[in-house]
Symmetry: C2
Subunit: 137 residues, 2 copies
């Protein structure tokens, strides 16, 4: 196995429990970009047991809620592709009308040089994820 | 309001309940492409009440399960952007290693002419979504 999400080297983990982890994505144009990674090597949401599926989505949506609370982006983008790395993970991306790619996805054509909106402090982000998980928002 | 997902003209709806609908997306290169649209005009998952969030995700994952059961794709792609149309909707896309864009997203650069894998019959798809909702798969 040489799956980069199983090896998990050089990650900046901001939140984790025994089942999944939230990391900061090193993206110069989109500093608030987070990734939620299921620890076990499975490919699809429908490969998970219903309770695990729900847990992963709770963490994805808590990360969305935390990013909204801390950064007030114009939009949140959520995506799970896995075409290149078929190990279940979710992209959670705060987007701004004046960022480099808006309204394209962050993987699309650049639209402008773009404003670099700062990401969230890691400790504040971890706390906001805990808070969102506790309250449902 | 001139939101195209509120107006909902010329859609091919394959499944619906009072809260959301699943439509076929008219994409020549990816005939199995479905979209799950929340009926009410809200922008973000975290704008929904927790029970509504869960319901929408149940329908998204039932659509994933139905497409896997009927089409056996190499991968499923899930995404909710809303940068262009900020009305909550999910893309559910069966992907194949030899399709036009793989491993890029379907919005990315074409990689080849690509094999056109047929989509699912609408009645079979509706039944498979019902079945996935009933069983959790």
């Amino acid at each position: 196995m040489d799956c980069p999400l199983c090896l998990a080297s050089a990650e900046h983990v901001v939140w984790e429990d025994g089942r999944c982890r939230v990391i900061r994505v090193d993206d110069e144009a989109h500093p608030g970009f987070c990734r939620v990674i299921w620890n076990e090597h499975v490919a699809e949401m429908s490969d998970l047991l219903p309770a695990d599926r729900r847990h992963l989505l709770d963490v994805v949506l808590a990360t969305e809620g935390a990013l909204r609370a801390l950064l007030h982006p114009d939009k949140i983008n959520l995506a799970s592709f896995g075409n290149m790395v078929p190990h279940l993970h979710w992209h959670v991306i705060p987007r701004y009308r004046d960022d480099r790619h808006f309204p394209e996805s962050v993987w699309g054509q650049a639209q402008r040089q773009g404003v670099i909106h700062p990401g969230a402090d890691s400790v504040a982000l971890a706390r906001a994820i805990d808070s969102a998980l506790a309250t449902g928002y």
